[in-house]
């Protein structure tokens, strides 16, 4: 399955990437997606191993199961207001 991965702010600056598609085996959870991402490239290893994430625009824990077409966003510490 394919998951759409979004990177913001400091994660985008660290990697130089704001969006990419990751191929994952069926049954993967968000933690698997991040492990896969971090192992693909030295740049992506700069992302924390356990970042806050959102799947389809909702904050979820890293054990959230992913489905084909999901949007997985890596959320650096936020600073609204």
């Amino acid at each position: 399955m394919r998951v759409n991965l979004l990177l913001f702010a400091v994660y985008r600056d660290l990697t130089g990437v704001d969006e990419l598609v990751v191929d994952l085996p069926e049954g993967s959870d968000a933690a698997d997606a991040i492990d896969t991402l971090r192992s693909t490239d030295r740049r992506f290893a700069r992302i924390p191993a356990r970042p806050v994430i959102a799947v389809n625009r909702e904050y979820v824990l890293l054990d959230a199961l992913l489905r084909d077409g999901d949007e997985l966003a890596l959320i650096p510490p936020v600073a609204g207001g």
Partner: protein
């Protein structure tokens, strides 16, 4: 009346946000306005860039406003949060709440700004007069286990 939440690329007009709330049933309205300061942590600031995950920020803002409405017993709530490049003094957020009673209006406005600080997927890159820039340290949004799928 109903809850109004916007992530705005254009400048925010606080008076316009205030004008969205109010009702003959209400005796109080509170407007909170956040602006870019010329100094932060002892460094002279020249401006700020607000980055946002806009598609998620809108529903998060609606959720926060909905919680505030429940606390306040009023759905007269308007929130606009700016994104993009902001100069000193520019409005980054305007929050308006009206309610029959003042305590509720104050509490709801305060609730919204405090939650926005820790939950809204927005990031600030501060520009300094030295020409440098840095992402501001942020807050780790709380994630509830039951929100997992």
């Amino acid at each position: 009346m109903s809850i109004h939440c916007v992530i705005a690329a254009a400048p925010i007009d606080p008076a316009g946000v205030l004008a969205r709330v109010g009702s003959p049933a209400d005796g109080a309205a509170v407007l909170f306005v956040g602006t870019v300061r010329e100094e932060n942590d002892g460094r002279r600031v020249s401006g700020m860039r607000y980055d946002a995950y806009v598609d998620m920020a809108v529903p998060v803002l609606l959720a926060i406003a909905g919680e505030a409405a429940e606390h306040a017993g009023s759905d007269r709530i308007a929130v606009e949060h700016r994104v993009g490049e902001l100069g000193i003094g520019a409005v980054s957020i305007a929050i308006a709440v009206s309610s029959p009673h003042r305590a509720n209006a104050f509490d709801a406005a305060r609730y919204i700004i405090e939650q926005v600080k820790v939950r809204l997927p927005v990031w600030k890159e501060e520009h300094y007069v030295t020409g440098e820039s840095a992402w501001l340290d942020g807050a780790v949004p709380p994630v509830k286990a039951h929100e997992s799928r």
